[in-house]
Amino acid sequence: MRFLAFLLRRIVGIAAVMIGVSVITFAISHVVPADPAVAALGDHATDAQIAAFRAEYHLDRPLPEQYATYVVGIVHGDLGKSIRTRRAVADDLADSFPATLELSFAALAVSLLVGIPAGIWSAIYRGRWPDVIVRIAALAGGSLPVFWLGLIVIGLGYYQLGWFPGGGRLDTFVPPPPTRTGLYVIDSLLAFDIDALRSSLIHLVLPSLTLGYFSTAVIARMTRSSMLEVLGQDYMRTARAKGLAERIVVVRHGLRNALIPTVTIIGLTFGSLLSGAVLTETIFSWPGLGRYATASAISLDFPAVLGVTLLAAIVYPVANLAVDVAYYWLDPRIQRG
């Protein structure tokens, strides 16, 4: 019952965030000193064409009325029509979001698989060379621009060594698996399509390394510091005093407690992966939401920008909600509080 109340509170909170985000985005996208109709139709359009376009997108109506029309649309599940692609924004999002989701999951996997062991390793060998290596790598991860990193990764992994493909989600002549989730790895598994599975996995390697480097660094640092804190606790000394093997002391007693703060930032990290995908997607020709958002913003495609923003506004709190729910089960103290 308490859990349901907790869940309900969070969902109401998400709805409030969405309304706020939609108002702010709508306002900002309508005060830029450029006309979306001009952006869409360009240099050559006649005044009559511009006027017709403005009428089609209700740009000739007062701003509050435009907002009301937009909200009514959303309530009916209609996110409007993109100015740039001339398609329903919902369709565009359905096309591009799974690609970003897949890339973000892969990057998150990289961050966890590399970040957590690196953090532990670094904490155990505090002040010695493994720690120094991890800390330098983490510092680099936190400070290298993604665009530069992406070009280096592609230059090395694709151009120089030829181990990985240079971009896209599948090899040139591998047809995509039948769409169920839009995540090619999952879809190709469901369809038992080994070619597509292999191809989609290998295409994920370079972009997920690029996108995941920053969050790997964050997770490694977080794990290191919380591990250091845990390693000095009384119960660790007790566990050692009981004669337990060091490995069991670290993994069973140390890691389990040290991971709690790490779990907290996974939700945040996942959100930042989604938004950080913009540059990675451009470098790796990844047909995802980030690239869609950039192209939409450049062409003042405000229905698309609003759609992307709303989607991001859902994803962030939902990812955090998922973490909170996980927490709720993990840490009994939260259930009480």
């Binding site: 830029v32 000193p33 450029a34 006309d35 001009v38 952006a39 360009g42 240099d43 050559h44 006649t46 005044d47 064409q49 740039r84 692609t85 001339r86 565009d92 096309d95 591009s96 892969a106 996997a109 990289v110 698989l113 592609i154 230059g155 694709y158 151009y159 030829g162 181990w163 990985f164 493909p165 240079g166 971009g167 896209g168 989600r169 090899d171 040139t172 002549f173 591998v174 047809p175 995509p176 790895v185 070619d195 292999r198 191809s199 996995l201 290998i202 994920l204 390697v205 451009t282 470098i283 790796f284 020709s285 047909p287 690239r291 869609y292 450049i298 062409s299 003042l300 089960w329 993990l330």
Partner: protein, 542 residues
């Protein structure tokens, strides 16, 4: 329970990634990328041309809708037109689906009678008839999408202007205020693409003239048919077995959306791409001499220019405008900034079109420019130079060209304050006649001098002349008359008069005409870029 699921999923994810990283036979192959599968939907890499470019502008493949660069390239290869230009030659209109055409002055109209070739078929196998031509033109007019103004405004057509007099004869009536030459050049463009009316009518839904279907399918008679379009990723064209012309040697063309030019260059050098479209001049230079790759260039009809708003003092003074034109170092822009990827053109009609005026009297003459300013009673002028973000045609950044202009003008005492904005914002200001100096480009809507001379001279057309406050009724009238002259010699003379005048009196600093640069694999033969932004894939082999 929770923990064990988490462990399992992490182990599973790890296994997948490791498997991917260690997977054998995954090295991208020399042609057609990693592991060209035998189940290849394109029928194998050997006869498939892989074309890398930024196709983010693609919104439709319907010939009555496309007006974007990528859409033009693709639709041109899937549809045939009544008449056409071949290769890079825009001077001679040649037979397409029509074997002949005849222009008759009926007194009240110009009637153009097209005789269709016999035995021509669409990809579906349906015969091509006069009804298809009438349907296609009426369809474009009725749909009224971006390119429709070419028919409705420029050629001044109404749906009833097009009639089939028998199964292989079409008559189009133009009002005498429209240019027959202009109309014929419009017909060479994608909007003139003839669709299979039987097939398209079968796909019509809610009065959309089948545009929902033609958005990502083709129904034409061109050398290729559209196999699929995966949004934001690729478009695959396959050879049309019923094509009536010389059969293409390529079995398929795959257009991949790759926005990053470095990525395009890598893929070209690795052999994954056969042609890369969006390489910078530096990348083109870097490719030269490398094994397995070559470069090609193509003309464009664009002009990069500065509009000088004559409603703004002191730009209302013709001597001030002439001084600004005189001071610019055009050779420096073309040779240094653009590494030669452009042609020095100083008049309002680009090279390649009838009416091109090759006079280039201006080149960084500081003394003369200062004298002109003195004559105008000006010693120091401060103006705002509006410029877009991003790269300009020819390869330099818009801001670099603006900086060069600022330097050149500083030498004659003119201070240009550069204001850089997004293209959309710049256009909003420019269209409202609120710019002072605006650095921008123009490409003609159809390959005819009227597509430049009209907008550049006619204030009432509310295009470029209006935006720069250039209101010269005499020359606007001369431009309108030149457009409808049917005798080529008389037309050329009329345009010579107009362009000579505009060279010194127009409110424009025409800077250059860019060339398009491409990276190619050495085995790609027969590639010719048309100045109207497409290439005939049927003439390419590899």
């Amino acid at each position: 329970m929770f923990r064990s699921i988490r462990h399992t999923s992490i182990v599973f994810a790890a296994a997948l990634l490791v498997a991917a990283a260690c997977g054998p036979a995954t090295t991208p192959g020399p042609s057609g990328s990693a592991g060209a599968s035998p189940t290849a939907s394109a029928g194998g890499a050997a006869s498939t041309l892989v074309w890398y470019s930024d196709v983010s502008d693609l919104i439709s493949l319907d010939p009555a809708v496309v007006y974007e660069f990528s859409g033009t390239l693709l639709a041109h290869n899937a549809y045939e037109t009544l008449v056409k230009f071949e290769g890079a030659d825009l001077a001679t209109i040649k037979p397409g689906l029509a074997q002949s055409w005849d222009i008759k002055d009926t007194g009240s109209t110009f009637d153009i009678t097209f005789k269709l070739k016999t035995g021509q078929k669409f990809a579906s196998g349906n015969p091509i008839t006069a009804d298809d031509v009438v349907y296609s033109i009426q369809r474009a007019i009725n749909l009224n999408k971006s390119p429709a103004f070419l028919f409705t405004d420029i050629a001044q057509l109404k749906p009833e202007s097009v009639k089939a007099s028998d199964a292989s004869t079409v008559v189009v009536s133009l009002p005498k205020t429209a240019s027959t030459q202009g109309f014929l050049s419009i017909l060479t463009f994608t909007i003139g693409g003839i669709v299979d009316s039987k097939a398209v009518k079968a796909k019509e839904s809610a009065g959309d003239f089948g545009s929902g279907y033609l958005l990502d399918h083709s129904s034409g008679s061109g050398p290729f048919i559209i196999d699929h379009w995966t949004k934001n990723s690729e478009v695959l064209l396959k050879a049309n077995p019923n094509y009536g012309g010389t059969k293409p040697t390529l079995s398929a063309v795959l257009v991949k959306h790759v926005p990053e030019s470095t990525n395009q260059q890598f893929a070209l050098e690795k052999g994954d791409a056969d042609i890369a479209k969006n390489l910078s001049p530096q990348q083109i230079k870097a490719l030269q001499g490398k094994p397995g790759v070559t470069t090609a260039s193509g003309n464009s009809l664009q002009l990069v220019y500065v509009g000088m708003n004559a409603t703004f003092k002191p730009l209302d003074n013709a001597d001030v405008r002439e001084a600004l034109r005189t001071a610019v170092d055009y050779d420096g822009i073309v040779n240094n900034l653009l590494s030669g990827n452009a042609k020095k053109v100083q008049d309002i009609v680009p090279a390649g079109l009838a009416g091109y005026n090759d006079a280039t009297p201006f080149q960084a003459d500081v003394t003369k420019a200062k004298a002109l300013l003195a004559k105008a009673g000006q010693t120091s002028i401060t103006l705002e130079l509006l410029v877009s973000t991003g790269p300009a045609p020819g390869g330099a950044q818009w801001s670099d060209i603006a900086a060069k202009l600022k330097d050149d003008w500083a030498k004659i005492g003119v201070t240009a304050n550069i204001k850089q904005t997004a293209q959309a914002e710049l256009l909003t200001t420019y269209r409202a006649q609120k710019g002072q100096l605006v650095l921008i480009l123009w490409g003609p809507d159809f390959p005819d001098p009227d597509a430049n001379v009209g907008p550049f001279t006619d204030y009432n057309a509310k295009s470029i002349a209006f935006r720069n406050g250039f209101n010269d009724a005499t020359y606007a009238d001369k431009a309108r008359k030149a457009a409808v002259i049917t005798d080529p010699t008389a037309r050329a003379a009329a345009y010579k008069d107009i362009t000579d005048y505009m060279l010194h009196n127009g409110p424009y600093v025409i800077l250059y005409q860019p060339t398009a640069q491409f990276g190619l694999r050495s085995n790609v033969k027969g590639f010719v870029w048309s100045p109207v932004d497409w290439t005939d894939f049927a003439s390419i082999s590899k």
